[in-house]
Symmetry: C2
Subunit: 311 residues, 2 copies
């Protein structure tokens, strides 16, 4: 049920030629503010600006030749659409991307720019799923879920794996929690590290479905979540929930003001552009009460619209 250390290692070997081994940055002034020695794994500098490139590549690499020849399909209005398009392009595979008509033009252009074949559908989950199923049926394409796919989960874990290769003796790693792919993969990397590194999540209080799912012991879907961390409005899935339940230490909830404050701290003090979702992980470090430890933080991505900053 839990993927093996060998699978994580293999995933990293498979994808490393196609991704950046992103830098790990530190900041004395952030350390002072947050009371720990923080090591930021900067997936905002990853290709297409987010960790999602890793999972998409790993899922594609694990397809057999017939599957590769028929292409892949996903529905997404966000980073995974771009990630799958670019990953597929890198490997010479066709990617069909179902996007809701409400998706911003800039995201449609980005997907098209990476070579994704876009199908526009109505802006409901049902319409998206129907459109994707249609492509699976007609083209024989393989559906790749953005977070609830075991190869995607393992692929996302390679960011933490790289972080632990250079900083093996961390006390813990924090990630944001959205669909569960990143924290699931990170929990695997922590679990298979040599030093019992703990894995914690950060989640907006306004989108606390993962925290509640852990407490309830089954997946709870959010009801109209309203948070600035728009990448975290999704919910856990059947493939990542068991991993998270078993291997994640805890999830800390953070307020919207805490997210925006952490985001501004990173922008101003570390000179890097991060999405609100990434700031959730840093805000969670403060919320956790953990102090004077070496802590890893996965900066999930940097895809923000500079015209609509929350500060």
């Amino acid at each position: 049920m839990i993927p093996s250390a060998e699978e994580l290692k293999l995933a990293h070997e498979q994808i490393q030629a196609f991704v950046h081994n992103t830098p790990v940055l530190t900041s004395s002034s952030i350390n002072k503010l947050y009371g720990n020695d923080l090591f930021f794994k900067c997936e905002n500098f990853q290709k297409m600006g987010a960790f999602k490139m890793r999972g998409a590549l790993n899922a594609l690499t694990n397809l057999d030749d017939e599957q590769k020849s028929k292409g892949v399909v996903t529905h997404s209005s966000g980073n995974f659409a771009q990630a799958l398009s670019l990953a597929a392009k890198s490997l010479g595979i066709k990617a069909y991307i179902v996007m809701p008509e409400s998706a911003p033009e800039i995201k449609k252009r980005a997907v098209a720019g990476y070579g994704g074949i876009i199908s526009i559908c109505a802006s409901t989950i049902e319409a998206r799923e129907q459109a994707a199923n249609h492509i699976v049926k007609n083209q024989g394409a393989t559906f790749i879920h953005p977070s609830d796919n075991i190869d995607v989960i393992i692929g996302q874990g390679t960011a933490a794996k790289e972080l632990l290769e250079v900083h093996p003796n961390l006390h813990a790693i924090f990630t944001p929690v959205g669909g569960g792919g990143l924290i699931g993969g990170t929990a695997l990397a922590c679990h298979y590290s040599n030093d019992d590194v703990l894995c914690f999540g950060g989640e907006p209080k306004n989108a606390d479905d993962a925290k509640r799912s852990l407490e309830a012991g089954h997946i709870i879907k959010p009801e109209s979540p309203n948070t600035v961390a728009d990448g975290l409005k999704t919910y856990l899935g059947e493939h990542n929930f068991p991993i998270i339940r078993k291997l994640v230490e805890d999830i800390f909830l953070v307020e919207e003001t805490e997210i925006i404050c952490a985001m501004r701290d990173i922008w101003e003090r570390m000179k890097m552009i991060v999405e609100p979702s990434s700031a959730v992980a840093l805000a969670a470090v403060k919320k956790s009460g953990i102090r004077n430890q070496k802590i890893g933080v996965i900066i999930s991505g940097g895809n923000v619209d500079l015209n609509t900053l929350p500060f």
Copy 2:
């Protein structure tokens, strides 16, 4: 007259425990836009957010014990004030910083936060120099010029030295040109590299004193320069001008719109916060007409006010 390769090497050895060996980032989409393989040496991720930390540290390290015990003084309203304060703090030396009364509160607070001892003076060059001279006379402090000091110049060259250590076969390195410390040091690092790497500068057309100085063969001071790249309004000095004249290949002038466009390209595509001055170097790459080469770009710093962005 031209500092030796040995001096550059020694500078790097002396300061490397106190600075970040900043990451070198690349971006496929920027490469496509600018027609070259670009390698960005990210001094925006340097301590206090700019390359100036390097020169300040090297100048301080080269003081004798008596000088160290009496402290140092500079006048600056910008990054060098913070750099000298932090460098001095790292080495247990007193730093007196003369700042004009017109300097933004945020910069005064930053200097004070790094332990600098601030003297406020009137907002003229004469008043600044007078106040600094007063401290030299009364405290016995050593004056350190932000760019026209040979140890500062050599220290700034260590950024390009680190870049060339990981990417030795660059065709050229581009830097912005302000007071001449960064480009002077970078020219030294290129000159002493194994592969005849060229050194080019970028300068705002609205502050083209360095370009005109090279053409005239003597230092020309700018007349009320008006550019968004506010770090580049200064002029060359007697210590860096001979180095620049001898070792810099050319300086390219760029328009304000080109600076802002390059800045936005870096923010949006590389997810990092850079000052307008840093964007001048990238804009100059485009202006140079050089294509299909491996080019280094020194990103000088990331200290911008998020409330007053030019886009």
